[in-house]
Symmetry: D2
Subunit: 152 residues, 4 copies
């Protein structure tokens, strides 16, 4: 499968994977980076009852966590070598209860810019043969260059 | 401190606390429910390096998780006895890096309705004497009545 | 072209067109309803210098007005005969300046429900042979039944 | 009344008023700039039946148009002399029908930064002695410096 974007940095996949490995939150959630393409990233996670809300489904915020990472790394995959990525804001719509055996978050760049990149994400639940759309996200990411990177 | 709302259900605090206790995600995050008022809820959490993103700050999605619960329970505190609360959607703006010793999420109802309630949330970082606004949320909650509650 | 939705009401197109005709704001903007399918609606408008912001492009709020109508009528096209549609909330991302000879807003249902429907919208600018994505929207719509319809 | 912000540019009010005067959309809507403070702007408009939706209330997109200008100019009032302001994205929640004799949009900066400023807005309806909250907005604004200003 191909995306319509071209990565500026040939080492984009390695950069994304190295940064993802630094996200302790992903380890705690049990999320793994399954696919990295220019402008598109997938992250998988199993059901985990330690991450549920009051009705036994995955908490909307945990869904957001995985989608935010998917959207952020989709954006980061297109950024220059000296850029870091920061989430400015995101919005999520919860469409169905997050019940299933495992889940997948897909993040895709909608519009890439030098400073601002907008990504979209979808979160799916898998149960046996069934796949269901659980949530959708729109996220605005900012590239931050050189040393100002992590201080916003 | 008082809020401008009146709870329909005199047992609102107990209901909120019982439901919060069912959110395993809050235990995993180490979040505790510190205050429950009609239309207003506070949740605290310590810094925890297992919940960080790639720069060592609390992951935006974890911030969202706590804010979503604060906004949801602020809405739930005003709902009738036979209602459950579901998050329809939320939006978060990340304003400063989430660094600090501990954090507090404050959720407040902006407009309560029989079906739809809109809440606002703020997430603060505390470090020594300093308090800093890290993120703000707007969340749309839906009351679901009787048995249809958890199936959306 | 076909959509993946089936309209509950065989008169869906007529209902959408009649309601659209009541939106005086659409007349003022010069917007016309170009296509009505189950779960999908297109609205066109010409460039009009009376609707610009300070740099001479169409104002982001005017873009929102047309996209909100497109998203709302996409949702309405799937609703039952005794339902009215209300916008609960929407979010728009502005991706490029709204310059062009004419514009088209496309609204599509993402998830339809009895009470809540989520639609997505895209706003395109046309200039000669060129088509450019100007903005994207996510909107949450509510079906309101019978006489409670217009009072929220 | 005072705000907690200090304008970087002593001519902030004049700059805001001159830019507002260039927004033809504001003239078409009949909106006037009533107050300009550092980080806070108010805009008023009368009821106008040419701006309504299908139930006879002001269209949600027209509300967005006025709120976007209020939020944008609140941000612009704090920006440097060589900066222009662009809306990156906004989200609006519609809380009550926009019926009334006149309306006021209030935009306030929540967090100002060199590149990104987040503003909040509220839209009120006035009818006789009554004032009612109709909608609330969160908007993300970007400062663009020097000649790159209007091309995103």
């Amino acid at each position: 499968m191909k995306t319509s974007f071209t990565a500026n940095n040939p080492a984009f996949e390695q950069r994304v994977r190295e940064s993802f490995a630094l996200q302790n939150a992903m380890k705690t959630i049990g999320a793994t980076l399954t696919r990295v393409m220019p402008g598109e990233v997938s992250i998988s996670m199993p059901f985990n009852e330690e991450l549920t809300q009051q009705h036994g489904y995955i908490h909307a915020g945990i869904i957001s966590t995985v989608l935010d990472s998917a959207c952020g790394y989709a954006a980061f995959s297109l950024m220059a070598e000296n850029a870091a990525v920061l989430t400015i804001e995101f919005k999520i719509n919860l469409l169905s209860p997050a019940k299933g055996e495992r889940f997948e978050a897909l993040g895709r760049v909608k519009k890439a810019g030098r400073n601002i990149t907008v990504s979209e994400g979808e979160f799916y639940a898998y149960e046996g043969e069934n796949k269901k759309l659980v949530a959708s996200m729109v996220a605005t990411m900012m590239a931050v260059y050189d040393r100002e990177a992590t201080e916003n």
